[in-house]
Symmetry: D3
Subunit: 67 residues, 6 copies
């Protein structure tokens, strides 16, 4: 029943496979539940849709920032 | 004011129309509010972005799993 | 695997039971999946934590608003 | 550490830049934290994935609704 | 229709009022929509339920961390 | 920048500490980022607010279910 939602950048299917498997193992151990009860939702966010400190990731990478 | 977020697989517009209409009817009745106050957000998740039991849906379908 | 997150006001356990049962029935039919794959998370939000039109629900009720 | 998730329609990168910058400024002031601690996630939802009052936005615009 | 979900620490009702009002103003301007279409959900997270860098906020404050 | 939201049952602070630390380690490795960029939000849901298969967890435990 635990649901793990992960918002991160775009990644390969192999990375998703590893992420889901390992997050599920951790949650199953900590919650002391069978793995079959754990759901993982991976959300891929383009760098223009995420900001840290008020600045879009896409701008940070470009060095558009003056900071 | 109630907000219903649904994470599921990709579906047709007709399915979305039915899903939104019926979820809203249920919420309006249970919360005893007018339907105009209910918002539904449908999120479509590709099968490589969702895992159950630590295994991506895309792998389950392929029978990649050894279980 | 579909996950339905509902943000609404505080409700009784009987209301939660009805909400979860009926939302699940709708989702199971539209997604053409067994009900056992559907998860519902009900979040109860106090009226001071939700705003519509920039005004907290708790203020709307009190008529604190000058509008 | 505050995380602001915004679900809205599709917008230009310039609009995203402005949205992220200004939401972050507000949150930093109200929470009395440095801006570098604020994360903004912008989610763009196609009009067929959002409903108000049980009706998809895409249908409202088309005037498909009989209401 | 835009929905803004804010996860932050516990704050006073006055702070919530200001946060909701100002976030709504920004969203209404950027999305070019009337304020009445904007919903804000404020979630208050106790410091033991949030982690940055793998460390709970409650531990950071206490200096429990050995780093 | 990755944000991990975990919805599960109520757990002790020690469990939260372990959950946050280990989920962060996994995400940092898979995303190839420093741990300081990873945020974890743990949400604790009472068993009357979560349903699987249309049935509240609180009812499943009680054996209220007739299934």
């Amino acid at each position: 029943m635990p649901v793990i939602q992960v918002d991160g950048p775009q990644i390969s299917v192999d990375k998703k496979r590893e992420l889901a498997r390992r997050l599920t193992e951790v949650a199953a151990e900590v919650y002391e539940m069978g793995k079959e009860h754990i759901i993982v939702l991976i959300r891929e966010n383009p760098p223009e849709n995420v900001a840290v400190g008020g600045e879009l990731i896409v701008d940070r990478r470009k060095g558009t920032s003056t900071k």
